[in-house]
Symmetry: C2
Subunit: 358 residues, 2 copies
């Protein structure tokens, strides 16, 4: 039987920010969800309470040994004023894969889904209605034992916080291409490591390369495999797709790549459109060769924040290439418009991806 | 000029635990050190206050993107009742190397050293006097921006907490050999990653393999290189040494191995004793071959917690070897007795490793 989520509503609602100042992940709603885990009780005390700081011992394991996993998804308001989520069960399932890799306890799927739905229902007036805006949802789990021995924590907190976010691309503009630096020194992950998990440490480890690429004038980093430094893995914190000679390619899930939900959705959408997609090992050399042959048509990243992020330029050592004269390709646009249309209810959800909340 | 550390002492000292219940990292002293960082002010407000929980926003970056580094060292009480630290400046310097890799701000070495000394002076009555016991010191830095965008935090907290710890080996016993499982699926780190940094994520990633090794009946895991899965990297969260045919070997710092302070000290001590030590790439195959030739004399791990941890057994796929009939070797014992003797003041500190506090 599903545990009952206890609800305590705030007595003092916050002033909502104007959509022009939203940005990403800066503002948080009036409530949050929390539940606790202990080895003896399992997950217990699920509750929605006013958004408030956490109080943790300085020795809490999350600060020292990094057992921390998270997810990111969005709630959208449709034109007919309904609230919907995009494939939320996939996030819950992936969170449990991350939990497994990090020796953290599995969360009950149905309870996590109830928590998501209830929390968003309570704070639904925070979902921005302006084009491109949405309510970003951040479920996360942290280890809370007050103990410095290296072993899995015996207590955890699972929380969900909500943040109204602005349009990723400036209004009035369609997608904007980004310039990418192919990273040859630092690596994101390696097979046998934690690259397949959405865990805090992966992001901490990626910052240095990102900062250095920015200093060189590039927007983001393309990660190569850690072993041969030849094969494409991810771009920034997104998965990556290539359109070459009419066919679409994306790196296969090799054991070090995050299994992105937008990635899966793009693959399914392309298949639905009868456009061939191949998941395989892709070398940077192949990409440059395709470009030289004039067959490299499009490159784009996929992720929850931007949905689709077209790549305009790729810098690899001394070599540089421009994709499609630096303009955004038609497939990138079609995929972007279709997925965001399904998310916001303006395009029919033929693939049954959305979940209505109210 | 060094910033002044403001001191607020507790009005209510805690009851100190009996040394028999100490264990490791379970109890914390009466005070802690904290200082804050912001991009505009730099490191500021260094202070010693009563030990107390932290209050952090649920969106604090440490919970999500894992910018967290730490150090571990110990304070010892000598027979003539003085307090000393073991090579503490090396920890401060390594913390700054970790900071650099994780895009975190450098801490001022002299201020960190002052903080260590002042905090330990204030809580020195917590240093256990029983044999093998000490005061474990845990400096750590966490990212505190209340923000969900992936970029380096602009605010941090540097803290030092202290924990009286019991003897690693049971009293009356000398060193005890451990059994080791050579891990062939999971990896700890790869060159270009964060293995060289003492950062939270490395420890989270290691738990799964450790748990699985324990289930198979082994005490700890031997980590291999991530690329060829042939070469020895670390053992558990320690560095590793091999004595083969009269000579000592330890894996060279390849870009994925933590530069351990006990490791360095063992190398320096052996050189001081005119025992040859070679830092090189060492394959597991070589170790098994040396064992078959009857030349594998000793294996031991080195780290702050255990100082020296002799390896008695090594399991690698279907192969298994026993080191020195499962008994602790003479070199392991000599190194252990000398280093712990220097730490506690019973052996002359010829290499000038200790720092007296009072």
């Amino acid at each position: 039987m599903l545990q009952t989520i206890e609800v305590t509503k705030t007595s003092q609602k916050k002033t909502k920010p104007n959509h022009s100042e939203l940005g990403f992940g800066k503002f948080f709603t009036d409530h949050m969800f929390t539940m606790d885990y202990s080895t003896d009780k399992g997950w217990h005390s699920p509750r929605i309470t006013p958004y408030a700081p956490l109080t943790l011992e300085p020795s809490s394991m999350v600060f020292h040994y990094g057992q921390a996993v998270f997810e990111g998804l969005k709630a959208y308001r449709t034109a007919d004023n309904r609230v919907q989520l995009f494939r939320p069960l996939k996030n819950v399932k992936r969170m449990n894969l991350s939990n497994e890799r990090l020796s953290m306890p599995e969360i009950p799927e149905d309870l996590a889904m109830e928590a998501l739905k209830n929390l968003i229902e309570i704070d639904k007036e925070w979902i921005p209605t302006e084009e491109g805006c949405s309510l970003y949802i951040r479920p996360f789990i942290i280890a809370t034992d007050a103990f410095l021995g290296v072993r899995p924590s015996s207590t955890y907190k699972f929380m969900i916080i909500l943040s109204p976010v602005g349009a990723y691309y400036n209004s009035g503009e369609q997608l904007q291409p980004v310039s990418i630096y192919v990273e040859n020194e630092y690596v994101r992950a390696v097979r046998g490591g934690v690259g397949i998990a959405k865990t805090a440490g992966n992001y901490a480890g990626s910052l240095r390369a990102q900062t250095e690429a920015e200093k060189l004038g590039y927007d983001q980093v393309l990660w190569l495999d850690a072993i041969e430094k030849k094969y494409v893995e991810e771009v920034g914190s997104m998965n990556i797709f290539f359109k070459i000679g009419g066919k679409v390619y994306t790196p296969e899930l090799s054991g070090s790549i995050l299994d992105g939900i937008t990635r899966t959705s793009v693959i399914e959408l392309l298949e639905h459109w009868n456009i061939p997609v191949e998941q395989k090992r892709i070398s940077v050399e192949e990409i440059f060769e395709a470009s030289e042959r004039g067959e490299l048509e499009e490159i784009f990243g996929t992720g929850t924040a931007a949905v689709i992020s077209p790549v305009g330029k790729l810098k690899w050592g001394e070599r540089e290439l421009t994709v499609g004269n630096g303009k955004v390709g038609q497939l990138s646009l079609d995929v972007y418009n279709t997925i965001t249309g399904i998310q916001t209810g303006t395009v029919e959800d033929e693939l049954n991806w959305t979940l209505k909340i109210d």
